[in-house]
Amino acid sequence: MKRFAALVAVLALVAFAAPAFAANPFMDVPMNHWAYDAVSQLASRGVVSGYPDGAFKGEWKATRYEMASVVARALAYVDMNKASKQDLELLKKLVVEFKDELDALGVKVDELDARVADLEKGVGKWYFSGYLRMQQTFGRDIMQGGVLKEDDDSWNVNRFRWNIKKVIDDKVTMNIRLQGGGGEDLGVELAYLTVKFPWDITANIGRFWLDWEGDFYATDWWGFAMDDAYITDIRPTMAVSFNKSFGMGDFSLYVAHDDNAGPGEDILAKGRFPFFGTDPEGFGPAVGVDWALASNLTSDRYIYGARLNFNFNEMFSLALNYMKYDYEDNAGVGVYYTFWNKQNGWLPNVVAYGPKNYFQFATLAADVETIWGDLVINFKPGITLKGQYFMQDNDPAWQATGLLGGGVAYDDSPSAWKAVLEIDQDVLGFTSLWLEYAQLDAGFVFPNGASPYGWMAGDYFCNDYGQVEADTTLWMVLAMQRWSEKWGTYVRYLDVDGSQDYNNWTVAVTHWYTPSLAFELGYDKLGGDLDDDFIWLRTTVFF
């Protein structure tokens, strides 16, 4: 029926058109003509919709016009996700063969050529990709409703990702990612435009990740279990970033605004200590104080960043970075004090946190300002030495947290540094190697709210806000082995000497059953001051 309709349309067009033909358009295309086979091939591979497999087989003979109309429709329906390079070549060949007839159909062949070129380049197409991951963990200690649940087993759909991409034109590309699983509903994780401006300036606009430290932390095969950046690798946030290249250098700017960032109000710690004197509210002599350190980091915040990177040559590069997490009003950490008085017993909350707080250390705003430098030396092929040095200037609210448990206030300008030696598997033959050593001052803040050394088991030398609780040294070794296309293994060891002394072993074996389906079996153990271990099995399918 479709063929008949196409034929009628073609005949109608022919009736009203009077072009000069190089060949008789009503002449049958000989049955042994390659065009039949070409269209059949496209149909059987699903490239041409509306022309099921076999449409051009059998006894039916097409005229050149009919064949041209098929080509025109093929170009209109072609599906880039199914079309291979060979398919497009076939289409191009068909266009050339039936050029005159396509002209007569009123379709400019030049436009068709351009259409083929566009199809080949992918302009205007929607692209889809992603993965689905299932995970089982066995024997892990977890906190549930404030209660420690030992040796818990858990099976879940750990993550589903659906990436959507469209090249709008030669200057604008749009990327969107929907993500869910692991207890989270499916939602928009990323949505941003990449825009090319004049003068070699590229901008990202929308909700996207920013990571200026990707070369400075180790990950497993996929970055599922990973160390992380100290300051950047900022979670998807509404932002604008600009990058300007000049010679061997780059300059980047980043501005983001995050609504209601932070974990909200929370009791960090509480305790009681003797106090002999008059309480601040004048209720008379007190003999003891109960205190509770609470936080209120739920606030809008801006994040400003700038980066200047320069590659002196292929061996040596240097970068200077600045980033400020700038919280708006009412963010901060405060202290509730309850004075215990002999005569009156327990008094109501005497001192509130925030602006009414009597105590100097409980001020508003928990801004974190960091300047850091990156150094990379590729002193032999496959062998890289890297270093980072961080200097922070933190608001008093962060210093106050040092008073937890009767300690002293943290320094307002803590620093940290790390050195990494990375060796590719190509160099050593059997394994790659990542050796890392770091020192962090007490009070140093990881502004994203977690230790970057969490890997599988979590972090134990930071408080709830990603602040280092005591002067800490740590070192880590990661050795990854890709034995074949099908098999890979890794072993990782972390040793931490900080507010808690502990170590963390991880071993895992990965099997790529097909390039799109991978299984991973792993074991993670915490030792030293901590004691937990568990096994995980992960199944991931990519599309």
């Binding site: 380049k121 993550r159 070699d200 970055g223 010679g247 780059d250 292929e314 030696l421 050796l435």
Partner: protein
């Protein structure tokens, strides 16, 4: 801890057992960048075909396949012909996807070669990069070797070049772009045009040049014929006018 670092440094400085002397050369011109994103992974290796690399590559293949001198020369000829070093700067891309599929089309607009303060787009590339990549794909990309207007060698006197690939090709890449850098100051492509392969390539170039010159000659002759015809016609007409 200190002992581990020392061991690692020694390991890194040691030549691996079984490594051929040219392995380091091959590695030097291959730059790899790896990206992971909480479940997605992408590795990009780009190879710059310096004369040093080409020589090491041919030698490595010859050793692996136990080639004779003639076979090695034939391989060199075919390789150099593919590389089009006489008018382009060739690089090879290898994408290895261990995660969500990657769509890079239109690939030619996603990358540029920075030489000094100027950037250059590819003049040609393998269209395979315009198609969905789910596992691994590799192919050639060619950048211009000579300035379009002046004909000057773009690499003359240049110390370092940078290949910039847009980060928008994949969500796994979080920076705006990815850079691959090579020091090319001592690279001299002319030094590999030696021996039989060099001679054959020169012959190919001369044949091509001869064909172009013949084509130009035919066009000139055609034009000359047209002019002769017009002159003859004018002369005939002038004679006719003189006789009137």
């Amino acid at each position: 801890m200190f002992s581990i670092v020392v061991v690692a440094v020694f390991l890194s400085l040691a030549v691996p057992v079984g490594a051929a002397p040219y392995d380091e050369v091959l590695h030097r011109w291959q730059k790899t960048q790896k990206f992971t994103d909480r479940g997605d992974a992408l590795s990009i290796t780009v190879t710059y075909f310096s004369s040093e690399y080409i020589e090491a590559l041919i030698q490595s293949e010859a050793d692996k396949n136990l080639w004779t001198a003639d076979e090695m020369d034939l391989h060199k000829y075919q390789l150099l012909k593919t590389l089009r070093l006489d008018d382009t700067i060739p690089v090879r891309f290898h994408f290895e996807v261990m995660g969500s599929a990657v769509h890079m089309a239109p690939f030619g607009e996603q990358l540029k070669l920075r030489i000094g303060s100027k950037t250059y787009n590819p003049v040609d590339y393998d269209p395979i990069f315009n198609f969905r990549v789910t596992e691994s794909v590799e192919g050639m990309v060619y950048f211009p070797r000579f300035d379009e207007k002046t004909g000057k060698d773009l690499l003359a006197g240049v110390g370092t070049i940078k290949l910039e690939l847009s980060g928008s090709i994949s969500l796994t890449i979080k920076p705006t772009k990815v850079d691959f850098i090579w020091d090319v100051a001592n690279d001299d492509p002319s030094r590999i045009y030696t021996g039989q392969a060099g001679g054959r390539l020169e012959m190919d170039r001369l044949i091509k040049r001869l064909a172009n010159l013949n084509k130009e000659k035919q066009e000139c002759e055609k034009r000359l014929g047209e002019l002769d015809s017009e002159i003859a016609a004018i002369e005939i007409r002038m004679k006719e006018l003189q006789q009137q």
